[in-house]
Amino acid sequence: MTYESQKVAIKYFVISAVFFGLQSLVGLLLILKYIWPDPLISILPFNTARAIHTNLLVVWMLFGFMGGTYYVVPEESKTELYSKKLADLQFYLLLIGGLVGVIGFLFGWTAGRPLLELPVELKWAVVIVALIFIFNVFMTMLKTKKWTAVQGLLLGGLAMLAAMWLFAIPFFKNLTFDYYYWWWVIHLWVEGAWELIAASLMAFILLKITGVERQVVEKWLYIEVGLVLASGIIGTGHHYYWIGTPGYWLWWGGIFSALETVPIVLMVFDTLRHVKHRKIEIPDRLVLYWTIGCALFHFFGAAVMGMVHTLPQVNRWTHGTQVTASHGHLAFFGAYAMLILTVIYYALPKLKGLTQFNQKRGFWVFWITVSMMLTIGLAFGVAGVIQSYMQRGLGIDFLTVQGFMKPWFIAVFIAGLGFFAGVILYVIDVLSLAMKKS
C-alpha cells in the first residue's frame, strides 16, 4: 500500500465477507426446503429466501469489486483517490440499500423478477450509488499521467455494469421482451462487464506478484477481454432459444456462446505462464494458491459446465433444471467469489501494513470452500441430469421426479454445511486482519 486513501477498501472488504456468510446461511435454508416439508412456509417461503440468497450474492460481490477498485486505482493512477468522502458516502448508501432490500423482501416488497427482485425505488438508488462510484474512480484516473490498460478496462467494465443495470428497471408488458432484456442484465453482466472487471483486477495482481513486464500482461489482457466481448455479446443468444424469440438464435447463440470458452482457456494458460516466467520470487503462497485456483475453477465452472449445456440440442432438455443451478454455483464461485477472495487476501494485509501474517487459516478456507463447492456443484449436476432425463425425457410428473433427486439434495446440504464452515473461517480471518493494529 502506498496511498492513504486506499484504506477505504477495508470496510468494503469486511461487509463483503459478512454478507458472503449470510448468503451461504440462506443457501442452507433453501436446500432444506427441497429435502423436507417446509416448516417456515408462512414466514420465509422458498421464493423469499431465494431472493435473499441471490441478492446478497450480488451485493457482496459489488462490495468486493468496489473495494478492489478503490485499492487498485490509486496505485495504478499513482495518486490519492479523488474523494475519500464520496467513497465513504457511497459505502453507506450501498449498505443501507442492501439491508432495506433484504428486509423489504421479508415483508413482500418485491418487483417479482428473478434475481432482479429489488423494487424499482431501490433500483434507482443503486443507479445513484453506481454514478457516485464511477465518478469518483473516473476523477481519480483523470489525475494520472499515463493511462494503463488495467485502468481503462476496469473503468470500461464498471461503466458497462452500470449501463446494463438500466435494463433492469422498466416494467415489460410482454413476458418475452421482459426476459429478452432480463438477460441483458444477467448475461451481459457475468459474461461481459464482470469479466472485464475481474480480468483487470487479476491482471493487476499478476503484475504485482510475478513482476512480469506490464507490456506482456496488458497485451494478454486486451486479447482476452476482446475475445470475451466478441463471443459474449452475441453469445447472449444462448438464452434466446425457447423464450419466444426467433429460431435463428439457436445458431447465433449456440456458436458464439461455444466460443466464450476460448478466452477463459487463454486466461488459465496466461496465469500459469506469468507465474512460470516470474521475474521476482512469490513469497506469498496463499495469494498464489487463490490466483491459480481461481483461474482453474473459473475454467471448470464457466467454460466446462457452461459448454456442457450451451448447445441447443442439450439445452432443450436441461433448460430450467438443476443442471442450471449446478453451473450457476460453480461459475459464480470460480469466476467471481474466488477472484474477490484473491483480491482481499492480497490487499487486506497490505492495507494493514502486515508483511507477514499467519496464513494457515487462509489455506484452510481455500481447501474447504473449493472442495465443498465442487461437491455442491456436482451433486446439483447429478440431480439435474436425473431431472432432465425423467421429467423431460420420460415425461414423468415434476414432484415425483423430485423424489428421485432427493439423495443429491441431501448431498448438497451436507457439503453446504462444510462450505458454510469454511466461509465462517474466512469471515473470522477477514475480521481479525481488519482489526489488527498496523
Binding site: P114, N174, T176, E218, L229, T236, T245, P246, G393, L399
Partner: protein, 231 residues
C-alpha cells in the same frame, strides 16, 4: 502480436459484435409481435403478469424455463391443467398430504385468479420453438406385469400428481367440489370410471370436473384400478 495490435483487436471486435447484436435485436423486435400474439396481449393479461410479479411466483416457479426450480414450470400449465382445475387450485393450493412439497396459500382474490389464468393462457400460446420438448418415450413399467399392490400404488400416485384431491375427498381428506370418493368402488366399475376420467362431459355435459386426456392408457388403468378398489 504487439500491444497496440491487441488493443485494436479489442476495440474492433467489440464494435463489430455489438453492431451485429443490435441488428439481431431489431429483427427480433420485428418478429416478436407475431410469435407472441401481441394482438391478444390484453390489459387483463398484463394485469395477470403484475399479479405474477406481486407475489413473486417466479422465484418458486420457472416460466419459459426461467426462475426458481422448486416447483413446476408454468409455460404450458394452461393447456395441461385447464381453466377449471387452475381456478380451484389457485384458490387453495395446499395439499392435505403432509409429505408433499407445498405451495403456500397466498389468499389470492377471485379477480387476481382470473387475471393470472388470462396471463397463463396468453403465455401458453407463445411460439417457443417447441419447448418444452415432447418426451422421447413415455415412461412405462417395464418387464413382467406389475403386482397388484404396485399397480394400486401407481394409481394412487396418479391421483396425487393430478391433484384430484382439490375437489374430492378420500378418507376425509381433500376438497368438497366433487363427491366423496372413499367408497366409489362400491357403485362404479373401472370401465365407467375410465370413461369419466378421459371425458367427463360424455357422462354429464355440464360437469365441473376437468377432462384428463393427457393421461396415458397405463395411467388411466392404474387410476381406475385404485378407485375401483375403494370399497
Amino acid at each position: 502480436m504487439e500491444s497496440k495490435a491487441a488493443k485494436n483487436l479489442f476495440i474492433w471486435a467489440t464494435v463489430i459484435c455489438t453492431a451485429v447484436f443490435i441488428w439481431l435485436t431489431i429483427d427480433t423486435h420485428l418478429s416478436i409481435p407475431k410469435r407472441t400474439n401481441t394482438d391478444q396481449l390484453t390489459d387483463e393479461v398484463v394485469s395477470g403478469k403484475r399479479v405474477w410479479h406481486k407475489y413473486n411466483c417466479n422465484d418458486c416457479h420457472t416460466i419459459l424455463g426461467i426462475g426458481g426450480y422448486y416447483s413446476p414450470d408454468m409455460t404450458k400449465v394452461y393447456s395441461s391443467r385447464g381453466e377449471n382445475w387452475l381456478k380451484v387450485f389457485l384458490k387453495n393450493p395446499e395439499s392435505p398430504d403432509p409429505q408433499r412439497r407445498k405451495m403456500p396459500n397466498q389468499k389470492l382474490s377471485d379477480d387476481e385468479i382470473k387475471k393470472l389464468i388470462a396471463f397463463f393462457k396468453w403465455v401458453d400460446a407463445i411460439d417457443t420453438n417447441e419447448w418444452p420438448p415432447e418426451p422421447i418415450t413415455v415412461a412405462k413399467a417395464t418387464g413382467a406385469p406389475i403386482k397388484d399392490t404396485a399397480q394400486i400404488l401407481k394409481g394412487k400416485n396418479v391421483y396425487n400428481q393430478n391433484r384430484c384431491d382439490l375437489c374430492h375427498r378420500i378418507g376425509g381428506q381433500g376438497g368438497v367440489i366433487g363427491p366423496d370418493l372413499s367408497h366409489v368402488g362400491t357403485k362404479r366399475d373401472t370401465q365407467w370410471l375410465s370413461q369419466l376420467v378421459k371425458n367427463p362431459k360424455s357422462i354429464n355435459p355440464t360437469t365441473q370436473m376437468p377432462a384428463y386426456p393427457q393421461l396415458s392408457e397405463d395411467e388411466v388403468q392404474a387410476l381406475t384400478g385404485f378407485l375401483g378398489g375403494l370399497k
